[in-house]
Each structure stands twice: as structure tokens, then as C-alpha cells.
């Protein structure tokens, strides 16, 4: 955190000064470790074993927050008899189909109820058949069926709000007992063997987090997005979620799982998404086969389930009204037919494959430098060299705009500028101080920022670029009568402009996002909350979760009232605006006990006020404000009505925090430790080596180093991980062109332990060549005690640290080989994120060969390891298919 978020780290230091204990778990000793009370080095890619060990510690000693767990989580809910765990199937869950590498998750459902395996299956395809058998409609046959694509980013649905519970937690099929059996083998000894973390250190962490949780105390887990960048990335976060739910640390002040995002407003770019699979406010993207708005809405939430997703018709209709205005009518389904459809995985890496295969003509890059910043840099560049056109908007002439003339493949002779047909258009971009708008940070806080200076020269804002691009396209299509052009022709595209360059009004965009009434007394007035949204076309709103940011016609995100003027450093609710409804802590109903009283005075946040019959407190209650704690819904009630007075997790289909996920995930209802796709270690926990549902791309551009289950592992005996340094920003577009930053970390380097340096003859400040099946890169050597070799399974594992800020090109102040070129692609099936924080390599002293020699050098490694396109692509290692299906 100190490395990548030094400004935010000031608050950790503040907390430490007040007595908080800071524990840092990281393969290397970083600037964060330097200030922490306790640092634990662990093997990259072993985190689930570590987290599972903590779960076991909590359960064995019954240290969980029992009242909280019984009332607010699904610990008491019974799981169906058909469910089989990794304990039963040596690392697989029930429902695995080895032919497709996917699960039919219907066997994971709660007792007595069929649970849709994934939300997309409810609608059951073009026929509109809404049968509830939850059978595997396409999950089995379509490897590209990511949960993200199916569901947007919302919680999975359930067909019914009712479930069977055993609040004594004794039934062997209740979730808590399932959990206990699942983690039975995650002993401290096993944690040591898998993670390389000595038991006495592991013990300290277990004691610290349990002692610091309960009525009076809460513990927070903080991660940076590297935690997600694994073939089991989603399950890492699930692991932390289980711990936090067991300890009662969700929905309470000082608790939670805090994701530190990689850039300013990355949170905003998922809320108002730049992702292919979701629409604003985490509504799912429309899929091919969805003929009508009803088809689509059926797919979002079952009308029979609990919680606020049942209001999706109002959110979606308002979104369509904001896009198509008067042209969106009940008769034409509010323009639903004009939405593009997705028919599979269109994620960033699939798009690169499609580029290589000649299926993509053009590509926009905005503030992104995939030639350096994305995994498989070489494949990124080869893909971009196979386009017709490429638009790059950036502050500087980044490597993604110059790879065609000075990239590594030009040096090796694989590409030559004369032969590349990609036409590259470079547009200089305005920086954040040259434009106005909002940033949304990880706490969901929107903060409006003013423009400080006018953009210099040809620099323009993204808003300017897209508004005028849309304007020009619409002008050209104005007379079109083609059906395919209707979406553009009918779009509301009427933002006021100002200034010399006709800059569109960012304020008008924020107002549109907030939404407004279209009919009645209040027509034209801004909405004040998403509860006002209607599904009858009488409201408009561009992103339901942002509704309220312009409540009362005031830009709430621009509020700058100091905490000093708000009664102290508490939540400072009048600084900026947080979605939804300015709530600072989500699910904060859980900060009070089932009867509505704070768990303790020290941790009071919101509570039930009996006299006024309302929820009240320091934060905006995240609960129907007049629903009493004692309220029990009538049988069969659904939606918000279906929530009981003690169902704090109001976006979940049963109102409970999910220790066990009966649906919604593609790789299992519980996190299980799998080795990374590339690992020199045989999985000590199960016969199943790696995530059996990970998405691999076995092709000649994307070869894998052999895992421990295959011969050839010894050719790539070391583990490497990639990361950022404080001095640079991601792929360097904002730092390597700035001399004051470039000089602070001028060269690509690798961090190695003294032990590895001796083993391989590496000299401090000398050169090293790091090799994988993809390529070889050279780096200066930094020998440091901050990297320690670890004992893993009786062997010593050496880890190599590679900051990924440098790239090969001619325009930056400093350049160098790119660590991301070493990485292959193996993706988490749920969200299609790449595994880039744990892979294997070799390291040798000296500089790498140049020109075509480099290709021969890498080829030699491949042949020594016996690598083919099949290497590493055996998904199931847990035994014959017949035994597990």
C-alpha cells in the first residue's frame, strides 16, 4: 500500500499511531513492510491456503462472532444432499465436466430449492423458456461463458427467498459444517508447507485478527488489485470475505475488505463501465437471443427473490430513457432492441486473440498501454500489428503507439514497419488537471474536480473526443433509414458546449447520470434517490446507483466541507458523495445486532430508534428506513418486501452474507487452494493441481512453462511475481516521460535474494536474463535481503521480483525490457482476469541475446523443457473423468 498508494497510506500510519496493529503479507519486504508491525513473506500464488488456514483456526476454536454469523450469514442454511466437496473428490467440487472444463453448479444449491447455476440460465435462451430446472444450458458447452458475462457484477439470483436453516449450526449439511469439513486439512503445518510461512508467524496473524474482532473491535483487510490477478483471483477475495463474515467485520466501522484500485477512478470505470459485459450500475449486458426487455429483465433477478435487484426494471427503463429519450417508448421496449448484444467472451484478452486471427479491424486505446502494461506484451503488439487502424489517446507517445517502428519484434525481425498495415492515429490527451469531472475512488466516493488550466495545444478531454466523434457520426447518418443506424440516430446527444474548442459540459453529463423526472409535477427535476425510478418510462437516469449525486439540483460530489466542520473525523458525510445514496459503509444494518442495537457503543454506526420507528445513526442506513428489526415478511414475499428486519445484506438474494456461494461462481462455492497455472510445486492439498475451470489459450503465441504435474519443470525452477514501485505509474505513460520520476527508478531491474544471486552467479548492479516460454528479458540486478527464499514442501523456492514499468521504445525518458512480456495468459473463469502475479522462469547472469538470436535462445529453452501448445493445458489432474463426474 505504501508502494502503490502512498497518499492513502498516511491513514494507515495515522491508525498505527493510535495503536492499530499493521500486518503486511507479501512475497517481498516492501515499503509497507518497513512500517508494519509484522511482515509475512509467502509464496506467490498460495494465498487461499493461508486464508483457509485462518478459517480453520476460527472454526476449530469457535472464535467466530456467533450471533452475527447465525443471524446475518448463510451459516445456518442447509446445503442440498447432492453437493460434493473437494474433500470427497480430491480437489474438485461436484458437477465437473472434464470434457468442457466447466461446472454444472446446480448441485451446489441450498436444500429444498433449485438455484439457478448462473443468472444467465434463468431465461434459458431464445425460446424464453423460464423453466427452473437450472440445467446447464450453455455453461457446459461454451468455454467462454464467464460468470461476469452472464451476470454483470451483481450477486447471483435465487429462485426463492425461502431456505431451510438450522440455527443451532449442528446439522452436518448447514453451511458452517460444510465449511468446517472443507477447511479441515488447512492446518498450520499445511499452511507452512504450501505458503512457506513458518507456523509461529501464521499463529501471530490468527491471534491478531481474531482478538481484534467482535463486538468492540473490527479488523479490515486491504488488498491491491494484484490479489485478483490469479487464475483463482475471485476466490482469493472470497477467502477474505469468509473470514470477515465469520468475525463479524462486514457492514461495520473499521471492517470490510478494501480494494485499492490501480488508477484514479477505476471504481468509476466499473460503475459506469468500460467493460464489455456490464451496463451502468452493474446491470448485465444484453445477450444475443434476448428478444425483448422482458427476456432481459427475467435474467437479472427472479421476481421471487429478496432484495433490491428485483427493482431492475425501473433501473433499466430509466437507463434506456436517458440514452434514447423520446424515441424510447413502451411500444419499442424503450429501445432495448438498439442495444448491442454479446454472444460470448469479448474480454480484452479474447479481443487480442481475435486481432491475431484477423477478426478485429480497429482498436481504441485510451490511457492504456497494453504493449507494456498488459500480460503477454508480445501478443498484444502482434495483435495490434494485425489491425487496420488503431487510435491511441494518451499524454505521451507511448509504446503502444510506436511498437510498429521500435518494438521488440522489430528488433527480432518478426515485424517490419513496411509490412504492418495498421494505421495508427495518435491523439494527445488532456490530463486530469486540464479537464473537469468526477473521480470515483474505492470507497465509492465521487469527488468533483475543477479544471485548473486549459489543455495545451491539441490536447483534449475524453469527453470532447467522444462527444464530437458521436456528433460527426450522427451528422453523417442523419438521413439514414437503415435499421442498424437507428441506435445512433435516436441517441440523445445534446450536451451544451462551451469555450474555444466546444468542450461539452461535464456537469450536464453528471446531471444526466443522476436522472430526472419526465412526467408529473416534478417533470424536469432531478431525482433524489433511485427509489424514485419507475419502470413506466416516466423517469430517466444514466446509472441508478449514482442517482442522488445531483439531488436537489446541487452537485453533491463537489461538496468540500471539512471533517473539522462536521463534528470530527468520523464519516464526513458532507465531503463529496458516495453511491448509493451517500452511504459510506455498505450493509451497515449489520453494525447493529438483530434487535437493532449497536453491537457496542464503541462500534455504533446505525441503529433502530424505537421512538421514531426509524433507522438512524452516523451513516445513511443501508436498509429500508422504517422496517423494524422484528419485521418478518409474509410467506412468499419477495423483493425489498421480502427482506426481514434482520436481513442486512439487502442486495443478496436471501438477505444474508454468503459464506458459501450456492450459485454465481464458475469455479466452486468455496475457495480451495489450487497452484498457479505455472508452478514448480505439486499441489500439497489435492490431486487437482490448478483451477480446473481456468481459461487457457493454448496456441503457439501463448506457450506455457510446464507445471509440476508435467516433465520439464526443472528448466524453469523459479517463481516470479510482478509489481509496481512508488516512483512509477503502471506501464510508465505518466512517469517515464517525466524526468523527475524517471530518474528515481531509471532502469528495469529484478530483485533477488543473496541466496539466489549466489546460486546463479548474479552480481548486484550487473545484468540478468529472465526466461519463460514466451520470451527472455534483461534487467539490472538488485540483490537484497528483502527477498527471502522459502521452504515449500521440503524444497527451497526462490522468488524473483519484477517491477513492470519499463518498455521498449524510443520516445520515453527511460526505457527497458518489459516484465509483462514474460507472462503467458491463463485467466480466472469468473472475471477473465489474467494470472500475472505468479509464474515460473529461469534466470541467468548477463544480458540477453539480441535480434533473431533472441528467438533461438528462447526456442532452445522450449525444446529443453519439451514445450508444445498442449503444455500446461490439462485442466483436470484429479483422476479419471469417470470418478468425478
Amino acid at each position: 500500500m505504501a508502494e502503490c498508494h502512498p497518499v492513502g497510506f498516511q491513514w494507515v500510519m495515522e491508525a498505527k499511531a493510535r495503536g492499530a496493529k499493521v500486518i503486511h503479507i507479501d512475497p517481498r519486504f516492501t515499503r509497507t513492510s518497513a512500517l508494519a508491525d509484522l511482515h509475512l513473506p509467502l509464496r506467490a500464488g498460495s494465498d487461499i491456503a493461508f486464508l483457509g488456514g485462518i478459517v480453520k483456526y476460527i472454526l476449530d476454536r469457535e472464535l467466530y462472532f456467533k450471533e452475527y454469523v447465525v443471524a446475518y450469514t448463510n451459516a445456518a442454511t442447509l446445503v442440498g444432499e447432492q453437493f460434493q466437496d473437494t474433500e470427497d473428490l480430491d480437489g474438485l467440487f461436484s458437477g465437473y465436466d472434464p470434457a468442457t472444463g466447466t461446472y454444472d453448479s446446480s448441485t451446489w444449491s441450498y436444500e429444498g430449492h433449485q438455484v439457478a447455476a448462473a443468472a444467465g440460465q434463468r431465461g434459458a435462451g431464445p425460446s424464453g423458456d423460464s423453466s427452473e430446472d437450472g440445467s446447464s444450458q450453455d455453461g457446459g458447452s461454451d468455454r467462454a461463458a464467464a460468470a461476469a458475462q452472464e451476470m454483470g457484477n451483481r450477486g447471483a439470483n435465487l429462485e426463492h427467498s425461502g431456505v431451510e436453516r438450522d440455527e443451532t449450526l449442528t446439522d452436518p449439511r448447514c453451511v458452517l459444517r460444510v465449511l468446517q469439513r472443507h477447511y479441515a486439512r488447512y492446518t498450520p503445518e499445511m499452511v507452512e508447507e504450501v505458503c512457506g510461512v513458518p507456523q509461529h508467524l501464521f499463529q501471530q496473524v490468527c491471534e491478531a485478527v481474531t482478538a481484534n474482532s467482535g463486538r468492540d473491535r473490527t479488523t479490515a483487510w486491504v488488498y491491491s488489485v494484484g490479489w485478483t490477478q490469479h487464475s483463482v483471483g475471485v476466490q482469493y477475495i472470497r477467502g477474505a470475505a469468509i473470514i470477515q463474515l465469520l468475525l463479524g467485520n462486514m457492514g461495520r466501522p473499521g471492517g470490510g475488505i478494501l480494494a485499492l484500485r490501480g488508477h484514479a477512478s477505476i471504481q468509476g470505470s466499473t460503475d459506469i463501465p468500460t467493460l464489455y459485459n456490464i451496463l451502468p450500475g452493474y446491470l448485465p449486458m444484453a445477450k444475443s437471443g434476448m428478444e425483448s426487455l422482458d427476456d432481459y429483465l427475467d435474467n437479472v433477478a427472479s421476481p421471487d427473490q429478496k432484495g433490491f435487484w428485483t427493482q431492475a426494471p425501473a433501473y433499466m427503463t430509466s437507463l434506456l430513457k436517458s440514452w434514447w429519450g423520446d424515441a424510447a417508448t413502451p411500444e419499442n421496449d424503450y429501445g432495448f432492441g438498439w442495444l448491442p448484444r454479446i454472444n460470448g467472451n469479448h474480454g480484452t484478452y479474447q479481443t487480442v486473440m481475435d486481432m491475431l486471427d484477423g477478426k478485429v479491424e480497429g482498436y481504441f486505446l485510451l490511457g492504456q498501454n497494453p504493449a507494456v502494461g498488459s500480460a503477454q506484451g508480445r501478443m498484444q503488439r502482434l495483435g495490434m500489428a494485425n489491425l487496420k487502424w488503431l487510435v491511441v489517446r494518451d499524454l505521451n507517445l507511448i509504446e503502444s503507439a510506436t511498437f510498429w517502428k521500435d518494438g521488440p519484434e522489430v528488433a527480432t525481425g518478426e515485424l517490419s514497419p513496411e509490412d504492418i498495415e495498421t494505421e495508427v492515429f495518435f491523439f494527445p490527451a488532456a490530463s486530469h488537471v486540464e479537464k473537469e469531472g468526477t473521480f470515483t475512488q474505492t470507497q465509492r466516493l465521487l469527488q468533483w474536480r475543477e479544471k485548473a488550466v486549459d489543455p495545451i495545444g491539441d490536447r483534449r478531454s475524453e469527453l470532447h473526443f467522444f462527444f464530437h466523434l458521436g456528433r460527426l457520426l450522427r451528422e453523417r447518418l442523419a438521413d439514414s433509414t437503415l435499421e442498424r443506424d437507428e441506435a445512433l440516430v435516436n441517441l440523445t446527444w445534446d450536451y451544451p458546449v462551451h469555450g474555444e474548442h466546444d468542450e461539452p459540459s461535464a456537469d450536464a453529463v453528471l446531471r444526466e447520470i443522476n436522472g430526472y423526472h419526465l412526467a408529473g409535477d416534478k417533470a424536469g427535476q432531478p431525482l433524489s434517490t433511485f427509489v424514485e425510478m419507475k419502470d413506466d418510462g416516466t423517469t430517466s437516469g444514466g446509472c441508478w446507483i449514482y442517482t442522488g449525486v445531483y439531488a436537489d439540483g446541487v452537485n453533491q460530489a463537489a461538496r468540500r466541507k471539512s471533517w473539522r466542520d462536521q463534528g470530527g473525523p468520523w464519516l464526513a458525510g458532507e465531503w463529496g458523495w458516495a453511491w448509493p445514496a451517500n452511504r459510506r459503509i455498505l450493509y451497515n444494518r449489520a453494525s447493529a445486532d438483530p434487535a437493532g442495537r449497536p453491537w457496542s457503543e464503541r462500534k455504533a454506526l446505525v441503529w433502530w430508534d424505537e421512538q421514531s420507528g426509524r433507522w438512524t445513526g452516523h451513516d445513511v442506513p443501508d436498509f429500508p428506513v422504517t422496517k423494524a428489526p422484528s419485521y418478518r415478511p409474509p410467506a412468499g414475499a419477495s423483493g425489498a418486501e421480502g427482506l426481514a428486519g434482520d436481513d442486512p445484506f439487502i442486495m443478496q438474494a436471501d438477505g444474508k452474507g454468503w459464506l458459501y456461494a450456492p450459485s454465481g461462481l464458475l469455479d466452486g462455492p468455496l475457495p480451495a487452494h489450487y497452484e498457479p497455472h505455472e508452478s514448480p510445486v505439486r499441489n500439497p492439498l489435492y490431486a487437482q493441481q490448478a483451477n480446473p475451470t481456468r481459461l487457457n489459450y493454448g496456441r503457439k503465441e501463448n506457450l506455457s512453462n510446464p507445471p509440476a504435474t508435467e516433465p520439464g519443470t526443472d528448466v524453469f525452477p523459479y517463481v516470479f511475481t510482478t509489481y509496481r514501485l512508488t516512483e512509477h505509474h503502471t506501464a510508465g505513460g505518466m512517469s517515464r516521460w517525466v524526468p523527475y520520476l524517471a530518474e528515481l527508478q531509471p532502469e528495469f531491474f529484478c530483485e533477488v535474494s543473496p541466496e539466489l544471486a549466489r546460486e546463479r552467479g548474479l552480481d548486484n548492479l550487473g545484468w540478468a536474463t529472465i526466461v519463460t516460454a514466451r520470451t527472455a528479458v534483461e534487467a539490472r540486478v538488485l540483490v537484497t535481503d528483502r527477498i527471502v527464499p522459502l521452504h515449500v514442501g521440503g524444497n527451497v523456492i526462490h522468488q524473483i521480483g519484477l517491477p513492470y514499468h519499463w518498455g521498449v521504445g524510443g520516445d520515453a525518458y527511460v526505457s527497458g525490457d518489459s516484465a509483462n512480456d514474460l507472462l503467458g495468459l491463463s485467466l480466472d473463469p469468473n472475471v477473465l482476469i489474467q494470472e500475472c502475479k505468479a509464474a515460473t522462469c529461469d534466470i541467468q547472469p548477463g544480458r540477453r541475446p539480441t535480434g533473431p538470436e533472441l528467438l533461438r535462445f528462447v526456442e532452445d529453452y522450449r525444446s529443453r523443457a519439451g514445450i508444445t501448445v498442449e503444455t500446461g493445458n490439462v485442466l483436470m489432474t484429479a483422476g479419471p473423468a469417470g470418478e468425478v463426474s
Partner: protein
């Protein structure tokens, strides 16, 4: 007693300022420095200090090397196999091997020993043949006492011009380029400095230096440069750029008297927190430079950070020397007079 040359004194009034504001200074609390180098960057941005070389130094995360004409804030990174209070680095029980002697390590200390300009030359040549000087910061990586690594600490500290009460640089400046401000700080006027360089060896901390670079490309080549404590900001009621940018308040700016009180309390806190080696550096008006305007909280001996343990103003004996020189001159004059007197007889 005239303390103009040595001993406690309030430097601004002593320099002739009437109605001087309270003396300003820095308190740099290294115990909460996270090594982000925002101070280095903010300083360069505000003061238009040029880039200072694009070489990796191989000395932990320090690639600035030392304070100099083009580095007015410098963050030192010190990796040592020593414990820091009750901190648990997590290395005990891991698979650290035997001490390694075949990997040579350069550190900022060796940079401070030698010609700073050499840092910008061939690093490979510098790296080979360096010897361990036995300084605390010279521990070779992995060269712990035994085969197992146990204790470890990574210290970070942002160094800066000390703005001495008795500033030798100022004393020896023949042009008046260096002067004492009303805030008690010491500032070089780059349009007056003639680049004579007398100030460079006069500084007991090795802070001030003449800028190297290509004339016409880099500004002020040959001119002595150092921290001004943002004279152009504090005069307008602003904080110096480094203090403003510091995310953890490791760099604190304010009235020196108040900073000293704050620092004393912080040291007590650190002692209570199990770090008895925490101490202040440069805050004592009785020390060899009369106390400094930019003092530090260190977690160990000053040498660990590359700071002189007992700095003394190099012009301490100047009055006595002048007195003796004067006496000698008088004696010679007297002798000459005697000769002439004798010759005339």
C-alpha cells in the same frame, strides 16, 4: 559573550534582522517516512531543479545518491540485518542461506565517501572493486551473523540542508550570494554566486555543491545550489514544497521552537514503543553548529544514515584565527617598523 561564531544564538537577529519572525525550520521524523520520494519530486518541481542523472545505483531504492546541487531533498534507504523495535520482519524460519561474500554491494555511504560525480559514470566500473568500509550501512546483502536471517530493518530518511545556526557556507562566501534570511534560514542567490566554490568544503554535512552539466542546456552550471527552505513560499505563508507533498507528515515545517517541543514528545513515544535508539539529531543549540534549523528524528546513530555524528562549523576558529593572524601581522608590522627604525639610526 559573542556567540556569532559558535554557541547558541538566534541567527536572524544576530545577522541584523530587526523584528524577525520566529525562526522557521523542518522537523523530519524518519520513523514515519515511507520512502515515497514525493519530497524530492515536489522540491524539483517548485524550484525547477534539473534532473540529476539516469543511472541506477544499486543501493536499495536510492537512485539519487546524495544531496547535491541538483538534489535538494534526498531519501536514504538503509537495509540492515538489525531489529527495529518490536517489528517482526518475518524472516526467521525462512530458508535464508549462509552469508554471501561474492556479491558486492554499493551503498549510499560509499557514494558519500567519494566523488559524487563518479556516480554518473560507468556504474559497472564503480561496482567492481568496491570494498566494505565497515560502515553500518555497508552490510553486504545476506551477510548476517549466522546462516539464518532473522532481524531486518529498512530505514528511510529524507535528508536536506540543515540551515545551521552557524553556517560556514555563509561565513566563507566572498560575494554575499549566501545570506541569512529573516526566517533564520540560509539561501544562495544564484544570480550573485560566482561559482568560486569556497562554500562546498566549508559545509560540515557535505550539502552544498556546484551544479555540473552542459552550459546552455542546464541552468546555473557551476553555481552553488542547495535547499532554500522554499524562501519564496514561506514568505507568502505557504509550507515548503517537500513538507506540503509529504503524505505521512514525516516532513514537518513550522516555528523551530514548537517543532522542538513536538519532537521531544515524539521521541518519548518512540521510547515507550520499544525503540530506545530513537533520538533527535541537530536540535541541540549547544552542538557544534549551534543547532540546526532542519533537524531529524533518527532511529539509530547518525552514521547509519550517512550523517556526521558530531558536526562542527568549519569556521568555528575563524575569529581566533583572525585574531592570531592579526597579531602576527601586527608583529610583522612592528618588526618592520623596528627594522626601519633601526636602519635609520
Amino acid at each position: 559573550v559573542d556567540n556569532s561564531w559558535y554557541g547558541p544564538v538566534d541567527p536572524a537577529p544576530n545577522a541584523g534582522w530587526t523584528e524577525a519572525p520566529p525562526r522557521k525550520g523542518f522537523f523530519t521524523d524518519t520513523s514515519i517516512c515511507i520512502g515515497c520520494k514525493a519530497c524530492e519530486v515536489a522540491c524539483k518541481e517548485w524550484n525547477a531543479v534539473p534532473e540529476d542523472g539516469l543511472q541506477m545505483l544499486g543501493s536499495s531504492y536510492d537512485n539519487s545518491g546524495a544531496l547535491g546541487a541538483s538534489t535538494w531533498r534526498h531519501v536514504a534507504f538503509i537495509e540492515q540485518p538489525k531489529a527495529l523495535g518490536n517489528q517482526e520482519p518475518g524472516f526467521a524460519g525462512t530458508a535464508a542461506g549462509a552469508p554471501m561474500t561474492d556479491v558486492l554491494n554499493r551503498t549510499a555511504d560509499s557514494a558519500l565517501q567519494g566523488d559524487r560525480n563518479a556516480l554518473g559514470t560507468d556504474m559497472a566500473a564503480v561496482a567492481v572493486g568496491k570494498v566494505d568500509l565497515g560502515m553500518p550501512g555497508m552490510q553486504l546483502p545476506g551477510q548476517a551473523d549466522g546462516a539464518q536471517r532473522t532481524d531486518f530493518r529498512w530505514l528511510m530518511a529524507s535528508d536536506v540542508c540543515k540551515h545551521c545556526t552557524h553556517a560556514a557556507c555563509l561565513d566563507v562566501c566572498p560575494t554575499g550570494s549566501l545570506f541569512r534570511t529573516e526566517f533564520g534560514t540560509v539561501v544562495v542567490q544564484d544570480d550573485i554566486c560566482n561559482g568560486c566554490g569556497y562554500c562546498v568544503p566549508a559545509c560540515p554535512f557535505g550539502v552544498i555543491d556546484r551544479r555540473v552539466g552542459e552550459k546552455g542546456v542546464t541552468k546555473n552550471v557551476g553555481i552553488a545550489q542547495k535547499c532554500t527552505l522554499c524562501y519564496d513560499r514561506i514568505g507568502d505563508g505557504l509550507q515548503p514544497a517537500c513538507a506540503k507533498a509529504c503524505p505521512t507528515t514525516s516532513i514537518q515545517f513550522g516555528d523551530l521552537d514548537e517543532l522542538r517541543e513536538r519532537a521531544e514528545k515524539r521521541v518519548e513515544q518512540m521510547h515507550a514503543a520499544g525503540i530506545p535508539s530513537a533520538r533527535l539529531y541537530g536540535e541541540n543549540p549547544e552542538d557544534g553548529v549551534g543547532g540546526v534549523g532542519a533537524f531529524f528524528l533518527l532511529l539509530d546513530e547518525p552514521e547509519v544514515y550517512g550523517l556526521p555524528p558530531d558536526p562542527v562549523v568549519t569556521t568555528r576558529h575563524l575569529p581566533a584565527m583572525w585574531k592570531k593572524a592579526g597579531l602576527a601581522a601586527l608583529a610583522m608590522l612592528a618588526g618592520g617598523v623596528a627594522v626601519f627604525a633601526g636602519g635609520g639610526s
